[in-house]
């Protein structure tokens, strides 16, 4: 029997505001526990929440980037549940009037394009963080009240690989839109995974399970591979799938049942009386739309057209906004944007990954890369010297022309000197000269190498080759 898989994701994205959703407490990561708290986010009686306008703006930007309809009327609701990390005993969220409805994300899977539908995007507040001791749990409320955007997908995803592609694409869009830092280590993107399987002959979706609070993409992928297999095995052996919440145990590599899911209305949603509705007029929405950044997809096409890059190279560069920004900055200052791309695709990415660095960590400025390309194109330095200079720039930054001058790396272009050195190489290596003349053309390479050695690698190899040929053939 073949089985169809339906996966829907609920992705929580932390917005990049400096203050919380409903109070002025800081949102910075890593502060000592319970130092970013106030009467509002601790749920003290008599306090009132006030909405952070940037949180609304960023959510709408996210919606516009995903092609959502932006609601002209949106409101907040209380979601009641009782848990120690939720000081008010309700979470302020949005129930029936979210800020954004609909939309989609394009993914590429095995070379094919696929569209994953977005159901809605709503805004809510994060909860506190608990740590467990023996017999007690401790709660830190620094995170409570930080604005979270929840992006809910349609159950359009049909494999662990697709879920991975979706998350990568979504992260890329959120980074381009500058709505979130998307730092996974800091919990900026967390996700609940809904998954069901059904025999291919059945049209209605199977019973789904929910895997809660995944905070790495790799984890989502691994948990889905396991869960899909578990559900298929269960159906194969005639068992029923229970609608339940499960937890991924990354060490054991399995999902474990948590609790039978309380049905939705047990949250007893009702309108938040302390917050007024959000009414966005179309002028405001259009103003925000006009300020939207260029998305990776559009940028890739433009890189191909404007800078003459191969589509593959453009694709790699735009994958990371910082990399693409760096490229553009350098390309604008260069007559050879293709060479800029080649340096970035090879040496730059290699050195970054070898040394575990981010682009922001290195001292080399885009204009230095443009300068290096200019020195190479004007034959001031040869390609092996250029690689050496690149290494220096990467490690220390600076002006490439200055480095070349200071270290005496300029190419030996003096043909009188080269002529002399070529003659010397011929005299010193009669055996190779004989080999060459008896038809072993490869012997010429050896002689070129000798001349390069005499110039400490600074000669133009092409020029040396020409001089040698003239002398040997003549």
């Amino acid at each position: 029997m073949n089985y169809l898989v339906s996966i829907g994701l609920e992705v929580h994205v932390q917005l990049r505001t400096v203050s919380k959703m409903f109070c002025g407490c800081a949102t910075g990561f890593g502060a000592p526990p319970n130092t970013h708290v106030c009467p509002v986010c601790l749920g003290y009686p008599g306090t009132l929440p006030v909405m952070n306008q940037d949180a609304i703006h960023y959510t709408v930007v996210a919606g516009l980037l995903l092609g959502s309809n932006i609601s002209d009327y949106s409101k907040f609701d209380r979601k009641s549940y009782f848990y120690p990390d939720m000081p008010k005993n309700y979470q302020i969220s949005q129930y029936d009037r979210p800020l954004c409805d609909g939309g989609s994300v394009d993914i590429e899977i095995d070379g094919l394009q696929k569209q994953i539908g977005i159901t809605r995007i709503h805004l809510e507040e994060d909860v506190g963080k608990s740590t467990h001791f023996s017999g007690k749990s401790g709660v830190d409320f620094n995170r409570a009240g930080i604005p979270l955007m929840e992006i809910v997908t349609e159950p359009d995803i049909t494999s662990a690989d697709e879920a991975m592609s979706f998350l990568v694409a979504l992260k890329q869009i959120m980074l381009y839109g500058e709505v979130s830092g998307c730092n996974l280590e800091e919990g900026n993107m967390r996700c609940d995974v809904n998954c069901s399987v059904r025999p291919e002959t059945q049209s209605r979706l199977g019973t789904k399970t929910e895997i809660k609070n995944m905070n790495t993409f790799k984890g989502v992928h691994a948990a889905l591979l396991y869960e899909i297999d578990r559900q298929v095995q269960a159906l194969e052996s005639g068992e029923q799938i229970l609608q339940e919440t499960r937890r991924w145990d990354p060490d054991a590599g399995i999902t474990i049942q948590m609790r039978v899911k309380e049905s939705e209305h047990d949250y007893r949603y009702f309108p938040e009386p302390d917050l007024m509705p959000v009414v966005l007029d179309s002028d405001k929405i259009e103003e925000w739309r006009a300020q939207l950044p260029e998305l990776p997809r559009e940028r890739r096409t433009r890189f191909v057209e404007q800078y003459g890059l191969p589509d593959y190279d453009a694709g790699i560069l735009v994958e990371d906004k910082a990399l693409a920004d760096y490229y553009e900055e350098a390309a604008k200052q260069s007559a050879n944007p293709k060479a800029i791309s080649n340096w970035m695709m090879t040496e730059m990415l290699r050195l970054l990954s070898e040394r575990g660095l981010e682009l922001g960590d290195i001292a080399m400025k885009p204009e230095s890369l443009a300068g290096l390309v200019k020195l190479t194109d004007s034959n001031t330095i040869n390609s092996s010297t250029a690689r050496e200079v690149f290494g220096i720039l990467f490690a220390e930054g600076g002006d490439p022309a200055h480095i070349v001058k200071e270290k005496g790396l300029a190419q030996v272009g003096d043909s009188d000197l080269l002529d002399k050195l070529v003659k010397q190489a011929i005299l010193d290596n009669p055996r190779s000269v004989e080999d060459y003349r008896s038809g072993k053309k490869a012997a010429a390479q050896f002689l070129v190498g000798q001349v390069m050695r005499l110039t400490k690698g600074k000669a133009n190899p092409k020029l040396v080759q020409d001089l040698l040929r003239t002398k040997l053939d003549g």
Binding site: T17, V18, S19, C23, G24, C25, A26, P32, P33, N34, T35, H36, V37, C38, P39, C41, L42, Y44, V50, M51, N52, Q53, D54, A55, I56, K75, S80, Y81, F82, Y83, P84, N89, S130, T131, H132, F133, S134, G135, K136, S137, G138, V139, D140, F141, R247, M258, R259, E262, S263, H265, D266, R268, P271, P273, L275, M276, P277, V278, V279
Partner: protein, 100 residues
Amino acid sequence: MQSDNQNVDRIDVSYVAHLARLHLDKEEIESFQGQLEETLDYVRKISELDVEGIEPTAHAVSVQNVFRADEERPGLNREQVLENSPAHNEEQILVPKIIE
């Protein structure tokens, strides 16, 4: 545990108590049953109003878009926060062990 939420005339006190993580004994359930039903009866008067043709609203006042700028402001210091909690260590508020 089953809700009888469909039956709006009668509150299932033990179910609501379960959702609110409250432990009530039999007597308390009975006493709350009576009190809550009285309260509901009182509120139910509102359904005597004729609301034909009136748009539903989430708010009694027609104010909208009350925002604040995204600016950081100082909060409480930790000593104050911890003092207000029933139990704490040096950094955190302590609660009975949370078990999933």
